[in-house]
Subunit: 350 residues, 2 copies
DNA sequence: TTGTATGCGTTATCAA
DNA sequence: TTGATAACGCATACAA
């Protein structure tokens, strides 16, 4: 900026204002400055700007991991919404470790981000580090895996609905003993998916059988084990609603290994619409989580928070509608669905 | 820092030095300062520090995309190596778009990163934006998809070797008409994989048949099309070496749709060791790209560059050894492999 | 071993 | 409409 000022014989103040399109600068001067800036390939120093203004144009993102399709897609949505507003993002992974999660937050704090987007790690059981962030006035929005309480801003999938429509679909396909592979119940997402499952059972007048609910960390291997365990029951299930795609896949593979036909002997559905659901044999029915919308909604909410500048802001929870993608692994009665030939039939889009 | 200085009755200079473990500060004072800093939960302002020192502790990463397993794993390796050296990373996606790639580099520049790690987008055909970076003295390391030329620092997989061992393996399994699904030849990785394929053919005395090489962008749908096209040849192939897993998967599915047995009628191998290779039926043979090591190596190289401070530094290329993971999709002669029962048999680890 | 003074690049304030 | 000046938080040359 000093160079430009010298060359044009004006002050850096004028340069600064011209570049940020300040109203007090005449159009002629603005033209000149901006042209010269382009010529010299001027790059603003965001650090200096952030230092002076006390706020940067950076948003921090903390995700449990990036593998798979869900989080990258969410991050993509975030990037889109952020860049539209002139922001950039820093991505950190907690690798499902609360210690790393805390360290990530410190990193973001000292990078002077304008706000933080968090999806909690699986091992996050207390929330002090988030309180610390808030006490420093750092705008904070959770997504997908959210902190409990009324005081949090969050964007979530309606996981209860996801569990509900999955289970209802299975019931509609004639299944009567529906098992559930459930995740850690301290995480909202898994608790709600289970609740939707129970709601659908109750609505249909089917009994709740605790033997049919298997709790695990939802990994592939645990899906294998869970299915094995379920099939040893005196009265084994005719369907499995898994709260995650990895364990659904494990269950699917183990079922076939046992010589069971899917979906005829046991119908299987997953959750997340991971890429591989279109690759398994049979293709895996799953719930799409509106990943990209989730990212965009989270950033929009965060930007509102930032613009409110710590002023009065009543916490908001945005809830997105899940979408059941019915595929072969649960389609016992294809004639019920005219479009059943489609590989990724959307049964419910409201 | 000012608060701490006041409370301890010393200058901010002392605080600054004590916190950065400067030799001129006595151990007693260091203790006191660091304790108080913890008590007040002091967070250094990295922007201010970066502004003053002219360099930050941030590394910029530009990847084409994050979906799948390869890039997240590379990034994980980068995070690990970076945090060991006190650095953090900013991740940007170019989404295979050179326009976005350029914008990302601008963003990173103005975020005052200490260095940049780039894997080029598929649409990057000229390299001016990288020259611009270099002309500003910004340390730059490429990984996986690298710029051509002697003047670049880069970490790559030995893709030629990957193509070579894949093809050799197929030859060893008795295949004689081996097709190749090739990617855009302006990208080093695809050019080299093809070269390895040709080398192995030549070594085995097999003819090169250009009809057996199909060029595409390596997407799933293009794998489907390519296989269809290949099977229409008067003399169709008995094996397919695909330079990517997505198109390998497409080929695999199309082959089975046509009623071909895999690997008996046509053996298929892919490249990248994506997660889904363990899910397909049959499981897909693929080349592992040492993703995590690649990330670590790239950061190590970048840090060396940064520490050299623009001084003399002869450009270096690090090349990693690929690993062929033989699975059912190419295993015609299992008796050749004692450990063939393993789902992910490592055939060649040198 | 500690302190004083200064500047990194930008922008807000106040004055012209 | 423009400019002079100070300040953001930190690190360092120099002095003590």
């Amino acid at each position: 900026m000093a160079d430009l000022a010298r060359e044009l014989g004006v002050s850096t103040t004028t340069i600064s204002r011209a570049l940020s399109d300040h109203f007090s600068i005449g159009p002629a001067m603005k033209q000149k400055v901006q042209k010269l800036a382009r010529k010299y390939n001027y790059q603003p120093n965001r650090m200096a700007s952030a230092l002076r203004k006390g706020k940067s144009k950076l948003l921090g993102i903390v995700v449990p991991y990036l593998e798979g399709r869900f989080f990258p897609t969410v991050v993509y949505g975030m990037e889109k919404a952020a860049s539209k507003a002139g922001y950039n993002v820093i991505i950190c992974q907690s690798h499902e470790d609360v210690v790393l999660e805390r360290r990530n937050l410190d990193t973001l704090l000292s990078a002077q981000v304008a706000g933080v987007l968090v999806s909690m790690s699986r091992t996050t059981l207390d929330y002090k580090h988030f309180d610390k962030l808030r006490s420093r006035g750092m705008p904070l929005v959770f997504f997908d895996r959210v902190e409990e309480g009324d005081n949090v801003n969050a964007v979530v999938l309606d996981d209860r609905e996801g569990g509900y429509i999955s289970t209802r679909h299975l019931i509609g396909q004639g299944c009567r003993r529906i098992a559930h592979l459930a995740g850690p119940q301290h995480l909202n997402i898994y608790r709600n998916r289970r609740q939707g499952y129970l709601d659908a059972l109750r609505e249909a007048g089917l009994p709740e059988d605790e033997n049919l609910v298997v709790y695990s960390d939802m990994l592939h291997a645990q899906g294998v084990d869970s299915l094995r365990q379920l099939m040893l029951l005196p009265n084994p299930p005719d369907a499995v609603f898994s709260a995650g795609d990895d364990s659904a896949l494990g269950a699917l593979q183990e079922a076939r290994r046992q010589g069971l036909r899917v979906p005829e002997d046991v119908a299987i559905t997953g959750f997340s619409n991971e890429t591989f659901t279109l690759v398994t044999e049979p293709n895996l029915t799953s719930v799409d989580q509106r990943s990209e919308e989730m990212g965009q909604a989270a950033v929009r909410l965060l930007l509102e928070l930032i613009d409110a500048e710590g002023g009065p802001f009543s916490p908001r929870k945005v809830s997105l509608r899940p979408e059941l993608l019915v595929r072969q692994s649960s389609l016992r009665e294809p004639e019920l669905y005219a479009e059943a030939a489609e590989p990724a039939l959307i049964v419910r889009r409201r």
